[in-house]
Amino acid sequence: MHRLTGADRLVALVIIALAAIGFLILVGPVLIVLVTSFTSSRALRFPPPGLTFRWYLELFDPVRSAQIHVAALNSLLVATLTAISATALATGAALAVARTRAGWARFAEGAFLAPLVLPGIAFGLASLMFFSWLHQPPSLLLLVAGHTMIATPFALRTVGASAAGMDAALLESSAVLGASPWRTFRRVVLPLIMPGVAAGAFLSFVSSLDNVPVSLFLSSAQTDMLPIRLWGMMETALDVRVAAASGVLVTGAFVLLLVMDRAVGLTRRMSV
């Protein structure tokens, strides 16, 4: 070990101080929302004057919060269907790209990832115009189609990373031993790429559940989505039920994250 000079120490101190502020800014708001959701006050006062479960009770009240429940169920249904369709489409495409050496595969991969760089709000508006041009009334299926386009690149990246590490010799052995392509897929390919598929399904699900720009244009009174409903509740009268809903969403996301991290090492997968 070498000795730190005074200047080095100062630099290290500044770095650690800024990192601490960064950490606080990342984590603090989540904790503050959790505490606020137990407030006894009608206002968003912090620190809360007292702690109760009243906003959670109100949030789960089937009559007073009926609209929120409809929106939440719509969001869960759309997110589930989006996760299925995005993962299926991405798995096929990722296998094709990973198993092909031709130049078109690199080009196709770039094109498949294009929705990532496009502002969601432009795509949301474009989808609204497209479906209205086709005279399609608002429906949850249109939302699934729109969300799938946004979610597929996430799944494509995680499945692609798994598929790239696959040993081609295993596939050839399976074929030589007489397995049909489908059997090879089920018994050899799928188990090998499963961590990537699971991570992709999870990311697609979360991306759909949180989607704002597409839902903003494609949802309607009948196909209300949770983020849009919560946005409405924040824009008009500030409703403390939003804090309770946030508490539920944060807890759900945290539990899912821990489960996925245990199962497929999600934190590792997301930083590559």
Binding site: L4, V11, F46, V117, P119, A122, M129, P227, L249, V250
Partner: protein
Amino acid sequence: MQENGVWRLALPLALAQALFFLAPLMLLVGTSFATDENLTQASLRAWRDMLGDSFNIMSLLNTLRLGALAVVATTLLAVPLALLHMAAGPRLKRIILLAAILPLLTSVVVRTFSWIVILGREGVINSALIWSGLATSPVALLQTEPGLILALTQIEMPLMLLPLIAATARIDPALLDASVSLGGSLLRTLRRVVLPLALPGLVAGATLVFASAATAFISQSVIGGGRLNYLPAQVWQQAMVVFDWPVAAAMALTLMGSVLMVAGALSLLGRGARHA
């Protein structure tokens, strides 16, 4: 899984993207050059309304500035966090990574809402200011640009931090030891050894943060409020309130074009810096 037929597996996604992604975008372009949403007649009216109106141009510039400031703010805090992650042991590494991912998994709406609680008149910051005697009455933080930038710093930070961590994690610790043992100061080692190697992550992060902050409709409209004008809110207004779809399309395409241009410039910058 024959090599020659495997391309067919990509067909479903290619078709789905052509139908539900490419076709809508082409219609968006078409609508911006039409008199109305039924594409009755070609016209440049929408583009004249978008580009010839000083209010809209101001909104565009505000939006781009917001994106740039978000990049600066997230860089300032994410780079030290990534450096700490690089130097940390496995336990602290894991904590930093979880802290980076947790906000990403809590919906944007929740993250935006938490900043209302922090920035509000009776919120965390005002309570602290009044309690410590630094202020006698609540300071307006909501509906101000500094408040919005502070909120976006958290909301967008994971997009900067994760690519940075991915880049710095690949740096060989032996390189740092070599630089230091050859007499390089910490600052010099960071500038000459770490920064060039972390640059691809920084560029990727800057691109993601810029694109996301500039188009963050919910955060802009809830924390920025009606007093600050940004282009995404104008797009929504024209499309869903005024129902002038050609103008909404021209605005959305202007936003898209500007974001893509900045992303392109950033990637050129990253490539140029690597060769220098």
